[in-house]
């Protein structure tokens, strides 16, 4: 067959005819007059899941949003319009918490690059790669409370980390007591505690990488940085996108335990995140409606991130 007659599979029209010549046009609908069993049964089957989602997710969510427009204390239950939101966005502490979310976004590339690099080395079979693979995953199974407590001991002012710095002739750092350093410390610990999961995702991504490309690059004389830049990163673009989004969501929703144990939002509110702020307002300040307003704002932030995730995944799905 001459090559010119060849039509690549992907270039065919989407609804190509079947090989026997019969078309695949949808069969004409049978009009039964009422709701047929076939049309009803899918709805019946998804009803339990929908009911659970509506009853236990959406309805409480709407109640929470509605609650955020009411008052606390003396104005308990009274409609206060947007008062809670006005106060929220006038509170430097909450704005600081949102600013910290911004920091998290900026630190995100590092949180993705670390497991990415380590997974690359494991994939390239550095000596002891099997040992490293299990060791790197280990922190992912620890509770944030345990991780926080361990690092509290390590990073305390007279703890082992500062002792080591002292031996190296460097001054001690107040890792958790300096407002310029504490946020980076907590994020660093969070990355340490969670990168194992991202590492596994990267390794599974590597399983889909064509080894022939690596061999070809090597035989062309590519250096390691060139291999990473021109072969590995393009080959793992979907995995990288996925890890980006999941890490982001993890940072926004699962740092409470670490913050609570390591810094209590301090020093001077420098490690506040919205979820910690919500907890303080509800639990310590006895302002549940105000906390609901903060929760609604956090929900909207998460919604934006979630939609970004969906669009990422949809785009990667289309690449096939």
């Amino acid at each position: 067959m001459p090559l010119g007659d060849f039509t690549p599979l992907l270039a065919r029209p989407a609804r190509a005819g079947r090989a026997d010549g019969t078309g695949t046009a949808p069969p004409g609908r049978r009009r039964t007059g009422g709701l047929s069993a076939e049309r009803l049964s899918p709805f019946v089957l998804i009803a339990p899941a929908v009911l659970v989602i509506v009853l236990f997710r959406l309805w409480p969510l709407l109640l929470g949003v509605n609650f955020s427009f009411t008052g606390d204390g003396e104005r308990n239950g009274a409609a206060v319009g947007l008062d809670n939101y006005t106060e929220l966005f006038a509170d430097p502490l909450f704005l600081g918490a949102l600013r910290n979310v911004g920091w998290l976004v900026l630190l995100l590339p590092i949180a993705v690059a670390i497991p990415g690099m380590l997974a690359t080395f494991i994939y390239l079979h550095v000596p002891g790669h099997r040992f490293y693979r299990s060791v790197y995953f280990f922190p992912a199974v620890l509770s944030p409370v345990i991780v926080g407590s361990i690092f509290n001991l390590l990073l305390s002012f007279d703890g082992p980390v500062n002792s080591l710095l002292g031996l190296a002739g460097l001054g001690p750092v107040d890792w958790l007591g300096d407002s310029n350093v504490a946020m980076f410390t907590v994020v660093g610990v969070h990355v340490w505690a969670t990168f194992g999961m991202s590492l596994v995702v990267f390794l599974s991504g590597f399983a889909t990488l064509d080894p022939a490309l690596l061999d070809a690059a090597r035989s062309d004389g590519a250096t390691l940085p060139q291999v990473i830049r021109h072969v590995i990163i393009p080959g793992l673009s979907r995995t990288i996108q996925f890890v980006f989004v999941t890490t982001m969501i993890g940072m926004l929703t699962s740092m409470f335990g670490l913050i609570y144990v390591m810094t209590s939002g301090g020093p001077g509110g420098s490690t506040y995140l919205p979820e910690y702020y919500i907890w303080i307002q509800q639990g310590q300040m006895n302002r549940p409606a105000f906390a609901s307003a903060a929760s609604t704002v956090l929900f909207l932030v998460m919604l934006v991130v979630g939609l970004a995730q969906v669009s990422f995944l949809r785009r990667t799905g289309k690449e096939d």
């Binding site: 339990p48 009911l51 007279d158 001690p172 890792w175 007591g177 020093p267 001077g268 907890w279 310590q284």
Partner: protein, 419 residues
């Protein structure tokens, strides 16, 4: 065809019904009508409080033999969160424990004023102020909580100083500290400000040595001038003590509960502003330092005209929820929980300085504390709202690390206190 629809429908119905079960779990609702009272606290699970609770229960059973009492001990760090949820739902325990000050004053909407039920206890118990708002008492005090300055007599001796005569002026006090640091390397203070609690203790302990009696009484009465020179002096002192190296290093990352107390107990610091009850108090320190080495002092005189005293308030107390069916019955349980017999047991087992003025103390440190109760005044920080306390904690950390000036902090605190 019908069958194909009916099966999924049946399964769906079962699942939907399964999801419609009760979500209330084992949440206690008010039970007083059915002869049951539920108490929430964070103490009754402590070994040191077991005998106290038993005594109180026995006292109540004598008066109301048909009523059962159930104690539900909640974890302290989540206590007010759980209580907030109960208050929001309008159902929960009949009797609940509170810390004195902002924690109870912020929640009086959910409580029954107790004055008419507990009037016979008004003279015998002390520390009512911390549980009072607008002239009404919303809880009966169980313990007294204050902020004495504890010092290590052994370190005084090592530096050649007389521990029986601690300094009464700020300059004398810091001179003693310098001598002790030179001789033993111990810092002047053990500071734990990770929770932002260090400043509360500092303000209350050294406020008595800085504010004039009139300024002090005005502060407690709600007339607080955050811009006054003496208030500024206290916060400036907070900054200077850190700047002059009188605190242990890393105070902002040291927890008061319990790392700072550990520093004092291990002899690495000469003084600590501690508590009278619960934790970080004489009984804890006695175990590590020996009763003969635990000294207690009032604030040295920092500003001319100040009359140092022991800052103390009601520590913890029991209040009655608005939703209880029989407030008189619940108030009777509160009276049993503050009976002399029960409180004597609490003092003996937990080392708490109890609110009952008829309970006699034995240990040297407590004897000194109890003697100071007569002239003591409510603590300055207890008069503040939770919101201002929380802000003060954050600002105190920023003053220490230099990211906020004393003036800017006082401006913010004044605004918060007025709102």
């Amino acid at each position: 065809m019908k069958q194909r629809v009916l099966w999924p429908a049946a399964v769906a119905a079962m699942l939907a019904l399964a999801g419609c079960g009760s979500a209330t779990g084992n949440e206690p609702s008010s039970n007083s009508a059915s002869g049951k009272l539920v108490v929430w606290d964070w103490k009754s699970s402590d070994k040191t409080a077991t005998a106290y609770v038993e005594k109180a229960k026995a006292d109540f059973a004598k008066k109301h033999p048909g009523v059962t009492v159930e104690f539900v001990a909640q974890p302290f760090d989540q206590y007010y969160t759980l209580l907030g949820a109960a208050i929001q739902a309008g159902k929960g325990p009949d009797v609940m424990m509170f810390n004195g000050g902002g924690q109870i004053r912020d929640r009086v909407d959910a409580l029954v004023p107790l004055d008419q039920y507990v009037s016979p206890d008004k003279q015998r118990l002390t520390g009512w102020d911390a549980f009072t708002k607008d002239g009404k008492a919303f809880a009966s005090p169980v313990t007294l909580q204050g902020h004495p300055i504890y010092f290590n007599k052994d370190l005084y001796k090592k530096a050649g100083l007389d521990p029986q005569k601690p300094a009464t002026t700020w300059s004398g006090f810091t001179a003693d500290c310098a001598a002790i640091t030179k001789a033993t390397k111990a810092t002047c203070f053990a500071l734990g400000n990770k929770e932002g609690a260090g400043i509360q203790f500092f303000l209350s302990a050294f406020g008595t040595g800085t504010l004039s009696p009139q300024e002090y009484d005005d502060w407690i009465a709600g007339k607080r001038d955050w811009n006054s020179p003496h208030v500024k002096q206290i916060f400036q002192l907070w900054k200077d003590v850190e700047a002059n190296g009188l605190n242990n290093k890393g105070g902002n990352s040291t927890t008061m509960f319990t790392d700072a107390f550990g520093i004092f107990q291990s002899g690495k610091a000469t003084n600590i502003i501690g508590l009278m009850s619960d934790i970080g108090h004489w009984k804890d320190f006695n175990e590590f330092l020996g009763p003969e080495n635990v000294g207690v002092m009032k604030s040295p005189v920092i500003a001319e005209g100040a009359v140092p005293s022991l800052p103390f308030d009601g520590g913890i107390g029991y209040g009655v929820a608005k939703w209880t069916k029989d407030p008189a019955l619940a108030a009777d349980l509160v009276r049993s929980l503050t009976s002399t017999d029960a409180l004597s047991t609490f003092y003996a087992n937990a080392g708490a300085v109890v609110s009952d003025t008829t309970v006699k103390a034995a240990e040297p440190a407590v004897t000194a504390l109890v003697a100071d109760l007569k002239t003591g005044k409510p603590a300055l920080h207890v008069a503040l709202s939770s919101k201002t306390i929380e802000l003060m904690g954050r600002l105190s950390q920023q003053i220490l690390d230099g990211s906020v000036t004393v003036d800017a902090a006082l401006k913010q605190l004044g605004e918060s206190d007025r709102s």
